[in-house]
Symmetry: C2
Subunit: 510 residues, 2 copies
């Protein structure tokens, strides 16, 4: 056979596999959704240790039913569920991650259904009319409407993807095609509270975590609804900047025009940080950005343009920068003022000159810039504006010595990290999922938000890591009426099955 | 007699009167303070109608003891106490105002003494050491230390001045010098909640209010502690400005760099309103200011300079403007951002792009500019910055049509007003109090804060009106540990007695 023949044969095998997975799913839709509903019925607030253990045990039993060897690792909070399925002669090991905790619920906000009593609706709920009402599941063997949705906490974030993995495995086991990769499953129970202990868990078990690829199965698909593979993530930094006026709140009648106003000072300081065209004016802010490779640049060009739709959906006219489209804006270093608080405004307004004002600035490094470099740039810029920078509230001496004083306290939880798209394993991943789903998968260099364990896995453990996002973008994760669109659950199954079966010739080098 | 002789004779008479008042007070200090303590023991929260009526009845009985004809006028809230003391052959009528309601108390904050159980301390309380402890009053006939203070709600604001008026009247009646002016007393019971009904009461009873001069006896003396006569007051306006980003709070990871940030927009907008030298950049802001006359300018020059002391006391270095001293800054149109609220900052910071941000801007007109003109200037400036100005939250259509939208809602309670210092009555007032007190009275064109009824009296009823401030500036009005320094109570008695006896030749024209 020529290499072209070999390639065509491989593509044929891939298509057969995709078809077999779809075939299996179509015949078992009711069983899959029923298992999801059972899983969603177990409350999963991170601080409820008893219910969280029930969740972990439930996952364990579901994995064991599929022949996976499971171990629960005890942690300071909830168990980490670890599963292994080894295959004789496997040439690579692939790890699939999800989390089984959910954002705590405010029961009063769930007026349309109970967060832990999942219901199906035939389409997306209209909060105004509260229609459609819940409807019964189709019979066993019958098909679901792809636009139907399951409403419950964690339907999309992040129990749906767990069910997607289990159903993918069922489909592969039923297809008759032998598994060809060692599979690892890892499910965390404290993601929504910030994964405080998980990075350390990963470092401690670095041998166990060794993989040819690590798939973080979380987050919504891009707005087109196509499964989305993000090869990297920005970092994140909070810089809380406090500036000072008088040492007490002053009567506005007696001190307007005389006492310095910290709200006005901070407004002016913030206004020095961004130009009228939207670019950030902090010197050095863009200097160390690692340029994208050709394959990443091409991938970006392949992402459908949705600028007008997003602006329409979210009610604004004109984006922050004219020279970047939406997906490009997520690849650039981020600057965002998440909050400003000084004095009392609106209905709470008081007749005062405020004493202090605080803004919380978010900085998002991309690959090439470290969080510390970015923090240093911000501090240098504030110093350049004439401020004396401190880390504690100023003393009376400092107040008398310096007219402009800024307290800066910073916190960062993740540096930026990115898996190169031209690694052999990256190319294999993209090939494996191509054609697996109705809407072909999107490949994007970086997601805009920070993923705490991304850099631990990729940079510390050296594992090619991707974020695989399959759930519908309008899933209301973290809020009431969280939901999962059935069609997106099917997409997850197709995507995960394709990844589990990705090929690696013995001669391939990562 | 020559006119010089006449003048000297009048000055002699004045000095005799001042001495007689002081003589009487020195012999009756204990009685005066005891009456104050009894008055302060009646709780005076504006919403407690029963206790408020007890206060009104108490004032009535105190006035009647001095021969004043008293009437309680019922209002929507608490009675207005009106007193009249007519003198045969009087050539002028003088009205003295105070209010008998006090700011509501948080009992938990009054840890050193009970707000309605007055105590005397030998000097100012040190909150750190909680010293000096309360001490007994001196015996009848014995003298008080001038630095001793009475601690209780409304000691300074504004029951102390009422006792000052009563003691002044006692001293005059005891002096043997016949009263020469018709006196009016008016005491309001809803000042601290904003005098909602009092301006209308004044307008309704405009004939009754007709006076040659109206003295609003309220507020702290200037920082030197000398009794202070303010001939005018600035107005006040609140302009709440809200700017918009997306129609929902967005995830910062997914929208930083793309969605407009209303906090940054509002910061930038505010930064267009003031120059680096502190002057306000809103076009027209200073245009209509009525220039001060020569007598007002000279009066300003006579006010002791306390810039360094104020900056030291309130912990800042450098005032807002280099070209104005403190007292000048209060005569200029005021601009002050009283509050800014957008997103979540500091400990509450969230990983979001905020949807909306609001700043509450205070504008303070001075004589020459109306509140409406000032509001129009602000709106025009915001429009000039590219904003579409609305009065309600924007519709989806407006959001899609305009990139920059600002909702502006304004409220004003008082225009600026000022009694000219060169009116004959003004000259007589200044002459009457000169030499009456140990620290000679200060005359200042305007106070920085708004006085709700000032313009009603002066501009609508045409009554020369002054604010007469006698209590110690460190009286903690509105807070716990409100107090009145005994020496300032003596100053009030001397000042009010001198005003009550101010002369008017029959030939004088106001």
């Amino acid at each position: 056979m020529t290499s072209i023949d070999k390639h065509e044969q491989a593509q044929d095998k891939k298509r057969e596999l995709h078809a077999a997975v779809r075939q299996y799913r179509k015949a078992h839709e009711r069983e899959i959704v029923s298992e999801l509903i059972e899983f969603l019925s177990i409350p999963n607030i991170e601080t409820d240790r008893t219910e969280m253990r029930r969740n972990a045990e439930y996952i364990k039993s579901m994995l064991e039913k599929r022949g996976v060897i499971v171990r629960l690792f005890e942690t300071e909070t909830n168990p980490v569920v670890w599963g292994e399925l080894d295959v004789p002669g496997a040439t690579q090991t692939l790890t699939f991650y999800s989390h089984y905790d959910g954002v705590p619920v405010e029961p009063a906000d769930w007026i349309d259904s109970h967060p832990y009593e999942p219901v199906m609706r035939s389409s997306k709920l209209d909060p105004a009319t509260r229609e459609p009402k819940p409807s019964p599941l189709p019979e066993h063997g019958a098909r679901f409407d792809e636009d139907a949705r399951i409403y419950a906490r964690s339907a999309s974030d992040d129990k749906g993807p767990i069910i997607g993995m289990l159903a993918a495995l069922d489909a592969l086991l039923a297809s008759g095609v032998p598994l060809r990769n060692n599979l690892r499953f890892v499910f965390e129970g404290e993601e929504e509270s910030g994964s405080e202990h998980f990075p350390e868990f990963v470092r401690k078990h670095r041998k166990m975590f060794a993989s040819d690829a690590f798939f973080i199965c979380d987050g919504p698909a891009y707005y087109t609804g196509a499964p989305t593979m993000w090869f990297g993530a920005r970092g994140n930094i909070f810089a809380h900047v406090t500036v000072y006026g008088a040492n007490v709140v002053l009567h506005a009648g007696h001190f307007t025009n005389f006492a310095p106003n910290p709200v006005e000072r901070l407004s002016h300081l913030l206004s020095t940080m961004r130009d009228s065209d939207g670019t950030v004016k902090i010197p050095g802010f863009y200097d160390s950005v690692a340029p994208l490779g050709e394959i990443e640049a091409n991938a970006l060009n392949g992402v459908p343009r949705l600028e007008a739709e997003l602006a329409g959906l979210y009610g604004f006219s004109g984006s922050l920068r004219n020279d970047q489209n939406y997906i490009e804006s997520l690849q650039a270093p981020g600057f965002n003022v998440a909050g400003f608080q000084g004095g009392w405004a609106g209905d709470d307004a008081r007749f005062v000159v405020p004493d202090v004002a605080t803004a919380s600035i978010m900085l998002m490094p991309v690959v090439g810039t470290t969080p510390d470099e970015m923090i240093d740039s911000l501090k240098a810029h504030i110093t350049d504006q004439g401020y004396h920078v401190v880390t504690d509230d100023p003393s009376a001496d400092e107040r008398s010595q310096y007219s402009l004083i800024a307290k800066i306290s910073t916190y960062w939880s993740a540096p930026a990290s990115r898996t190169a798209m031209d690694l052999p394993v990256s190319v294999r991943i993209m090939d494996a999922v191509s054609g697996a789903t109705e809407k072909d998968a999107l490949f994007i260099p970086s997601i805009g938000s920070a993923i705490g364990i991304f850099s631990v896995l990729r940079d510390e453990l050296g594992i090619p890591t991707l974020l695989v996002s399959t759930v519908n973008p309008d899933n209301f994760q973290h809020g009431p009426n969280e939901n999962l669109r059935i069609g997106n659950l099917w997409t997850a199954i197709d995507t995960f099955a394709a990844l589990m079966m990705m090929e690696k010739a013995n001669s391939d080098v990562n």
